[in-house]
């Protein structure tokens, strides 16, 4: 016999949301109690034939109406303001040091990519306790919902658009991960676990390349770099601006003026659109010559996964003009463990530049 009345609390939001929740529970009990009491007492006390005082029966009273309009309204506004604060945090900007995770929802599984370590896992997410995590998510097919009750956290995972959410797990444990938006036959089986680990365990897990999961040897940034070359991006978007297109070095995070006169910040969604449909937001001053890469698995198309890889690489090119892209930004020991360690950890921006120029 197990009657759980609340989920575990394991994130920075959990307590503040629970506070509002239990305040609402208290208000519900009070108001329902008042109404129940009024109804039952009046119905019984003034039932037919009882000899109680019925002097001056009232059929309306402005002050009473105002009382029971204004008091609930003020209470409501209080709860409203209170609950807007955590909401603006959950969907607001994450802390600068948040570690990034890409999440792809597809029927019926969750695919996570750790941006820094390159580890990929399905239906499981391993994160260290106490460290902010930012999840950028997209769906390959229908709408899904990323939901971890213990974190009091939910975000719809939409096709065609990135949604982000961030949180800081604060308790070690294993927590349910659900899909909250109905997505078809096996909707209820689209889930798994989030493992919040102690820093030591996490470091070990990471150095094992992610214990029991798919072993990915390259970081997303490294894969992104390869794709950058494979798709021929480097030819126009090399280390320096050339006549065809702007360099990606130092582009991320800056504000650019578009050909249509608007200005835009180069963020994940901007880059996504720029890759899929460059003309939608061409930066002013460059010719309109780039063909986009539609999302898909065919030739000349790019998968959602690879899009994320590419964006991750472009991000790593930083937002300072001369910053060398840090491809293997793990510790050296991690690099050494890789089978592909033979690949020289070169400064990719310079190699890109030479390739781009030499053709």
């Amino acid at each position: 016999m197990n009657f759980p009345i609340m989920p575990q609390t394991a994130s920075n939001y959990a307590v503040s949301i629970d506070d509002i929740y239990f305040t609402l529970v208290a208000l519900t009990v009070i108001f329902t109690g008042i109404v129940t009491l009024m109804l039952l007492v009046f119905a019984v006390r003034y039932r037919r034939g009882t000899k109680v005082s019925r002097k001056n029966p009232s059929t309306g009273n402005l002050y009473m109406e105002l009382t029971w309009s204004i008091i609930p309204m003020l209470l409501g506004l209080w709860i409203y303001g209170w609950s807007a604060i955590p909401y603006s945090r959950i969907y607001g900007d994450p802390p600068a040091n948040a570690s990034e995770i890409f999440l792809i929802g597809k029927r019926w599984m969750w695919h996570f990519q750790h941006v820094n370590s390159g580890i990929r896992e399905n239906n499981e997410l391993h994160i260290p306790v106490g460290k902010a995590v930012k999840v950028t998510m997209i769906s390959q097919d229908v709408i899904h919902g990323f939901y971890v009750p213990a974190f009091r956290l939910k975000r719809d995972c939409l096709p065609g658009r990135y949604n982000t959410v961030w949180f800081r797990p604060n308790k070690i444990g294993k927590y349910y991960l659900f899909c909250s938006e109905y997505c078809g036959t096996n909707h209820s089986e689209m889930g798994g676990y989030v493992y919040v680990m102690s820093p030591q365990d996490y470091a070990q897990w990471k150095s094992n390349g992610g214990s029991q999961t798919l072993k990915e040897t390259e970081t997303t940034t490294e894969i992104g770099h390869d794709l950058f070359e494979k798709y021929g991006c480097a030819q126009c978007h090399g280390a320096q601006d050339n006549v065809h297109g702007p360099s990606m070095n130092g582009l991320f995070g800056t504000t650019v003026t578009l050909a249509n006169g608007q200005s835009a910040t180069v963020d994940d969604n901007f880059l996504r659109t720029a890759i899929i449909n460059p003309q939608a937001q061409r930066i002013a001053g460059w010719p309109a010559i780039m063909s986009g890469f539609p999302v898909g698995s065919g030739d000349g198309q790019i998968s959602e996964e690879n899009l994320l890889d590419l964006i991750s690489y472009i991000k790593s090119l930083g937002n300072s003009q001369h910053a060398a892209p840090v491809v293997g930004n793990n510790s050296t020991s991690t690099v050494a463990l890789k089978p592909l360690a033979s690949k020289p950890a070169v400064n990719h921006s310079s190699s890109l530049a030479t390739k781009g120029q030499s053709r």
Partner: protein, 580 residues
């Protein structure tokens, strides 16, 4: 009673005469029913139709509860389970709750309450029933032969690209039923505006009429939007046009916006008529004018209008702008105020009344209690941060069942019992009705209260399989649902029984005010022999109240055992003077 000014010629002294011609016995052929333009007969047709649909929806619900007894159910496949909850939602929302009170009690009572012989457009009214039936048959056919697994929300792009079930047939059925509801809405709006009896000013209208008026506004403004939205889903499926499909740059969130622009107000289509019924029942059995009439009337209108500005609260977690979320949340909190006004006014009406505890009143009190819980839990979901956790969980399921079942269906039951004598000319058995009210109340709470807790625990809705620690709550809920089912079956039996064996109903069994009680039960075909002239406001119970306190219950025409003890045991004049 002596002060009733309404058309004395139509007063029902002959109400007990069986031979009297009424809308039921005027003709007996099948075609006289199927081709009728009489709003009362159409109401009866609707009542039969939605009862059948309710039975189908209830069976699907039973399937859902059976599946959820075990965390890893093997009784149904996941496909079947998904089809069950989709069928339950679609049937209950579009074919029971939306037409329930407006098309049955509203159709029957609205013209009579305002002193008209019929609705403004009687043939449109019949057309509306045929459209409803056509849609219902289409949807039931699609559900029986293949089913649909999109849920009642038809979210894109699942419904247009990925679902392999009978989406097109079901949407076309819902689309057609939507026009039936639009026809009803137009009819009611015009009727209330233009056909009120002389002297029946807006502020003399019964609150049920106000509620139907507010409901009709929502129907007329909202239904076309969802109709065209669903039509576009069909066009996407059939012709491959691109409107919401993200694969061609469409925005599935736009679908959600358009869908909820109707479907949130649709919740008020379901609850406002119930609120109207409760106002009637409470005022009648408290023998008092409703407390704060204007506030109750205007709160209906406020709910109808504000209801159109809150649809975004279904989408706090979809990625709509944080600021639009804040605006929608704020308006949602404001819409709680008119609901609170109603609840407090109903409670205050009982104060110092001469309360006659009958089955309709017990249902009405049940409604107020359950609606209070349902309404207050709505605020949890309106609270932005709390909604991030509770959205799309069983908390939502519990909340809207408290509003729609605890609210709409308890209201419907209250109204059905209250006006059953008027509609059928027979009394229902009071004892059985009381029993079913209590069984329903207990069964309902047992079914849906555990779901609040399940939701806070984090169990998502539309889940066939769930983590084992949620099992005990689910078992409790399933156990409750069987009690609920018993509570639903008892009225089905005694209502049918009463048609033949019930006591013959007088014109005004409850001693109630209102034009519908001035004509015989069941009413004649054209309702009023002469157009009544209204000289007093609704709920002018002062005379009745005074008479009852003086021990005079002669205005109550209810037959044994309704009135026996009071008629035979009038109170002494001494106690009455004392308390006057």
């Amino acid at each position: 009673m002596s002060s009733i000014p309404l058309n004395p010629g139509a007063l029902g002294s002959d109400g007990r005469a069986r031979a009297r011609e009424n809308y039921l016995n005027i003709k007996h052929t099948v075609s006289s029913w199927l081709l009728t333009a009489d709003h009362k007969r159409i109401a009866v047709l609707y009542m039969i139709s939605i009862s059948v649909m309710f039975l189908f929806g209830g069976l699907a619900a039973a399937g859902i509860r059976i599946a959820l007894v075990r965390p890893h159910d093997t009784f149904f496949s996941s496909e079947t389970y998904n089809k069950l909850f989709s069928a339950h939602g679609i049937i209950m929302v579009f074919f029971f709750l939306v037409p329930s009170i407006p098309a049955t009690l509203g159709n029957f009572l609205l013209p009579i309450m305002i002193g008209a012989r019929d609705l403004a457009f009687p043939r449109l009214n019949l057309l509306s029933w045929y459209l409803f039936m056509f849609g219902a048959v289409l949807v039931m056919g699609a559900i029986m032969f293949g089913g649909i697994d999109t849920g009642w929300t038809f979210y894109e792009p699942y419904s247009s690209v990925y679902a392999n079930t009978n989406v097109v047939a079901v949407i076309v059925g819902v689309f057609i039923a939507g026009f039936s509801s639009i026809a009803t809405g137009i009819n009611f709006l015009v009727t209330v505006h233009k056909m009120r009896a002389p002297g029946l000013t807006w502020f003399r209208l019964p609150l049920f009429v106000w509620a139907m008026y507010a409901t009709s506004i929502i129907i007329v403004l909202g239904t076309p939007v969802v109709a065209i939205t669903l039509l576009m889903v069909v066009l996407e499926r059939v012709f491959g046009v691109c409107v919401f499909n993200p694969a061609c740059g469409g925005d599935p969130i736009l679908f959600e916006h358009l869908f909820w622009f109707y479907s949130h107000p649709a919740v008020y289509i379901m609850i406002l008529p119930s609120m109207g019924i409760i106002s009637e029942v409470i005022a009648c059995f408290a023998r008092k004018r409703i407390f704060g009439y204007e506030f109750v009337a205007f709160s209906s209108m406020a709910i109808a209008l504000l209801g159109f500005l809150v649809w975004g609260h279904h989408m706090f977690v979809t990625g709509e702008s944080m600021y639009s979320g804040m605006v929608f949340s704020l308006i949602t909190f404001l819409i709680a105020v008119p609901s609170a006004i109603k609840v407090f006014n109903w409670s205050a009406t009982l104060y110092k009344g001469n309360v006659w505890l009958t089955a309709p009143l017990v249902f009405a009190i049940g409604f107020i209690l359950l609606f209070t819980i349902g309404g207050l839990t709505g605020l949890y979901l309106a609270s932005l941060a709390v909604d991030v956790h509770l959205n799309m969980t069983y908390f939502v399921v519990a909340h809207f069942h408290y509003v729609m079942v605890g609210g709409a269906i308890f209201g419907y039951m209250a109204g059905l019992h209250f006006w059953w004598p008027k509609i059928t000319g027979r009394m229902y058995p009071e004892g059985w009705a009381m029993l079913s009210a209590f069984i329903l109340f207990i069964g309902f709470n047992l079914t849906f209260f555990p779901q609040f807790i399940l939701g806070f625990d984090g169990m998502p809705r539309r889940y066939h399989f769930y983590p084992p620690e949620f099992q005990m709550w689910n078992i409790l809920s399933t156990a409750g649902s069987s009690v609920l089912a018993v509570g639903m079956l008892i009225p089905a039996f005694y209502f049918l029984w009463s048609l033949k064996y019930g006591d013959i109903a007088p014109a005004n069994p409850w001693g109630a005010k209102g034009l519908e009680w001035t004509i015989p039960s069941p009413p004649p075909s054209f309702n009023f022999e002469t157009v009544p002239i209204v000289t007093e406001e609704a709920y002018a119970y002062e005379a009745i109240y005074a008479a009852e306190l003086a021990g005079d219950y002669s205005h109550v025409e209810a037959s044994i055992p309704y009135n026996q003890e009071y008629v035979e045991k009038p109170q002494s004049n001494i106690s009455n003077e004392e308390h006057q």
